[in-house]
Amino acid sequence: MIIQEAMTIQRKLEILSDAAKYDVACTSSGVNRKGKDSSIGNSLASGICHSFSADGRCISLLKILFTNECIFDCKYCFNRSSNDVVRASFTPEEICELTIEFYRRNYIEGLFLSSGIMVSPNHTMELIFQALRMLREDYNFNGYIHCKTIPGTDQALIEAIGWYADRMSINLELPTASSLKKLAPHKSRNNILKPMRQIQLRRDMNKDYLGIYDRSLDSKHTRANKISASNTKLLLPSKEDSKNIDNSNQLTHNTTNSNKSFTKELSQAMASTSTLSPYWKPPSASSRYVPAGQSTQMIIGATEESDLHIMSVSEALYDNFDLKRVFYSAFMNVNQDNLLPSTENGPPLLREHRLYQADWLLRFYGFKTRELLSESKPNFNIFLDPKCDWALRHLEQFPIEVNKADYFTLLRVPGIGVNSARRIIMARKNSALDFKDLKKMGIVLKRAVYFITCKGKMLYPVKLNEDFITRELIADNKKLPFGIDKDITYKQLSFFDDVSFQINNK
């Protein structure tokens, strides 16, 4: 390990932002906060992107590690203890200066602070706590702060940090406990779920205390309102469906088992309601605890879990832990580790993309994982986005009448998103809509035409036939690889998923 004592701030920033780049959650959304005369900063719930890096991703926060030293040895991580890399650490003052000076120049919305583990989880998190408190209290920073929690951190520290951060996150890293054990031997599922639960409960208490009514909970019609350890099982995906499972299928078997064990882990973590003992005095009576909520992140494609598995885990996290976001990070074999899949041909970006699309469907469109995937079809299709794919499998529910369908039914039409659905509902109050009207309103009909009627008529006289629509839908997709021709049927197409594609390609 090389530690350089007198390192310039430039060099530190270079090392510690480079080491933070794989963290995907660079969003500043989720909290509205006006500025204050005595301080610097405000926050917009919609979030603001300040730049876009060469990979096209949004830069919104100063995303850095506190240190890239680490006593853990996670296989997928460049900073793992067994790697011989240059190590650097910021001081709390340096973090504050950088944040404030970047913020003044409007480079950023705030700070995203993550870290490797120096000495111990508690030692590191204490330094991070110092940095955040200094930033808020000495530098009067009122902008956005996202703080990552290290598994194994003491409850008391988590309690204290939550009063200074807008969002906290603790990485789930991998969808199953067994994968976690294999790739991150120093972390345990329990060390990850427990703090998540602690923060969730603390937020609830704080909201009750302040009398804040969380509308976002209410609008998510499918979401359980009150969470208790007893109804955990009801919310978990595999319960009912497990009856219909074909046990001869090896993959099926695995999935179900691990889903079940996740159920168990969840209930364990959630049973720990009463352990909320530590108390840190809020900076002020009206302070909010982690107001922008929690998020987490999973690595995609380092281990064998199917999309079904990953989405089931996400769904359970949304339903039971009130997470605001689950992020997916396409695995990259940065250590050229032979035990892990090679990513020579690039990381599984398409798969990551599909997971984000499906995640969106869960959060805003009222879909459930089990509608999108099943044991017999556990992975998303390469060519069709999850909603199109779903619609093609449910042609019996189409076409729907634009002038009558309710909001959530409209949202199920391929090509109609949240904005379009809202516009339709607003406009049809005044007069029944025609295809012409929809076009005028800027609604893209390219895909939607196969699934809707206006005043009882379809735009073209087409039969709802899955093969026909499939061909029409993918006809725009100019580069169709691997010998797919225009005679493709839906059945054939649905065999192509990113997972097996990656495997076949090896």
Binding site: S17, D18, I40, C49, S53, A54, R105, P347, N430, S431
Partner: protein, 265 residues
């Protein structure tokens, strides 16, 4: 034969509102009046032979009367929408607003539900377009610290959005002195702590000299920002097309992180 009366006004909210007031109360009838705002790009190529041109002198009182009636008789939301259209770069916006208000005063606040009406629709589209640029610039505006501690920024927006972005920075940076300059319009907004911010006119110089002043190369945080900007990208995922979609090239001339590549080439 009926001559169309064309009310030519200053290209500003007050100018357009004054023209609307005068055209409305002229008694010629809605069908016989038209509003045209002055702008550099307006070449008057479509000067109509059989029309009267009436030059409208901006009158704050008349303009205020129009804004007040929109707020009370239609709604605050509609008022804000109309203002955004008046600040847009849409040619013929003055007349569009006039037609929209004819409908608005007739129907009331529910006018915004009439999305399939062409005029209403146009108003919405322009609003989205202006809002998008505002939202982009809330993130893309770059301040550089001048030697005297003032934060300065230059922008070249398509719409005249200075008055729409400034309040955000006043709220955010209450203890800073700052100035945001619209390099194409010769307008700037100035804020000094504890005072209301103001909009001021400045001579339009060739923008190069502004750029150079404002870009103040001595501000050391510019380098730190560039270092961060470069190292945060994942090399295996480089994707210029995605970057361009999200951050259109036209903004980059004013953004610190693109200075070197843009200005040395």
């Amino acid at each position: 034969m009926n001559l169309t009366k064309i009310f030519v006004c200053e290209n500003s909210i007050d100018g357009i509102f004054t023209a609307i007031y005068q055209a409305w109360s002229s008694g010629y009838g809605h069908a016989n009046v038209k509003i045209e705002e002055e702008c550099e790009k307006n070449t008057y190529s479509n000067i109509q032979l059989f029309s009267d041109y009436i030059h409208v002198k901006t009158n704050i009182e008349q303009a205020l009367m129009v804004s007040r009636s929109i707020k009370t008789k239609i709604s605050l939301q509609v008022y804000e929408m109309v203002c955004r259209v008046a600040l847009s770069n849409y040619q013929g916006k003055g007349d569009l607003i006039y037609r929209f208000l004819v409908l608005g005063f007739h129907i009331g606040k529910d006018i915004i539900g009439h999305l399939s009406n062409e005029i209403v629709n146009k108003i919405f589209k322009i609003n989205r377009y202006v809002n998008n640029e505002v939202h982009h610039l809330l993130g893309f505006i770059r301040f550089t610290e001048q030697d005297n501690g003032v934060l300065a920024s230059i922008i070249h927006p398509k719409n005249n959005i200075l008055s729409l972005v400034t309040p955000h920075f006043v709220d955010r940076l209450p203890k800073e002195k700052f100035i945001i300059l619209d390099g194409d319009r010769g307008l700037c907004s100035i804020y000094i702590p504890k005072k209301p911010w103001v909009l001021a006119e400045v001579p339009v110089m060739d923008s190069y000299s502004y750029d150079k002043d404002i870009a103040n190369g001595d501000d050391e945080y510019q380098d730190l920002w560039k270092i961060f900007f470069d190292s945060i990208a994942i090399k295996e995922r480089i994707n210029p097309k995605l970057q361009r979609n999200n951050l259109p090239i036209r903004f980059r001339r004013d953004m610190t992180e693109f200075f070197i590549t843009d200005k040395n080439s």
